[in-house]
Amino acid sequence: MCTTCGCGVGETRIGMALAGKGPLELVEPHAHHEHPHAHEHAHDHVHEHVHADGTRHSHPHTHAHHHAHTSHAHHHDALHGEDEAHEHDHGDLGFDVGGGTHQDQQARLIAVEQDILSRNDAVATGNRQRFAAARVLALNLMSSPGAGKTTLLVRTLETLKAQLPIAVIEGDQETAADAERIRATGVPALQVNTGRGCHLDAGMIAQAIERLPLPAGGVLFIENVGNLVCPAGFDLGEAHKVVLASVTEGEDKPLKYPHMFRAADLMLVSKVDLLPYLDFDVDLLIANARKVNPGIAVVKVSTRAADGLADWLAWISAARTVKGLAAG
């Protein structure tokens, strides 16, 4: 469903490589409609709008029509979404289509100025308060699919579960496999399946912690859906976002997915046991990450080496201390 990264099984797919911002229509391929047409299928026309703030603009554009299903949006200087289940009267300037929506004299302008994600952020703030009340350090782990999040968690828990209360929330589009891998270590875990959704949001975490008791005084690990794009934008209420970049993925990932690396406080360079077999420049990866996020911390990890997690465990310990969550 996600039109940017192409994850999910949405019916809408758009060629996002198009860079131009001219009068470009985003239309879905559609079956030819049966209704009789009095006009050309693709036609130019002009809308004129007068808005309550006094702006008057007209924009000519070409409609590629698709009646009888969904809708279209076109990006020109003023973006204009229209429901297409309506009659067009194309000789008629100064009048837009559809049930008399252009009664300019009655239009009112309301200033809003709210963040589009303000609802998610409000729920995230509630989660954050619950974590603080339970003295829990919540970490949101993100990466491309297969960078090693679950394996890292399993190995981390093997050490940490003897020291601290821990719980894990596993986000995947489908299957409960990752939560089962966690539970095999004896640590409580809850699977959240997002279906077509390609990221966790704050509401999913709020629901999850209704069912999964918070590990008071310990650590809640949240493994996000494997995806370097979508999860970056959604605050879950975590203390830190942590991004894994494995050494098999290429040094350019921070530049290709800058929002993720900008959002993270820590980059874990994973699978470093493979470095001897690869032509991978870790310093270049780090330099690229710091280009989009000068303050990002970096820790190298391997789940295959005996002491491959020592620096990561030390980082978790320091994060708890900084938050005033460490005992003693």
Partner: protein
């Protein structure tokens, strides 16, 4: 970034505000999507059009402003324009930059009837 999820958040905000104002319909929705935000405006517009069908905002025009990106350059000690994340400072070529504008995703205003 998931424009479908964003479009439904946007729609909820629009409908809440419109209802509070006793609006019969929403005619125009003005949003600011900074050029450094993680949203593709055309994908958002498409998703909003689908999400809003049959609601008070079903006929609304979505106007997207795209405020340009800017960053604080530690070397220049100044705010400089930034075309995209990961770029060097256009003034001094330095790489220590922190975004300070153009990453917003905001519902600015509504025009209602």
């Amino acid at each position: 970034m998931h424009e479908v999820a964003l479009a439904s958040s946007l729609l909820q905000l629009v409908l809440d505000n419109a209802r509070q104002q006793g609006a019969r319909s929403v005619r125009r929705v003005v949003v600011a999507i900074g050029t450094l935000s993680h949203v593709e405006p055309r994908a958002l517009a498409q998703a909003f059009t689908s999400a809003s069908m049959g609601t008070l905002a079903g006929e609304a025009e979505l106007a997207i402003e795209e405020p340009p990106g800017s960053a604080w350059c530690f070397d220049c000690g100044d705010t400089v324009p930034l075309a995209k994340l990961g770029d060097d400072c256009p003034r001094c070529g330095g790489g220590k930059l922190v975004v300070n504008g153009g990453d917003e995703m905001r519902l600015k205003a509504l025009e209602v009837l």
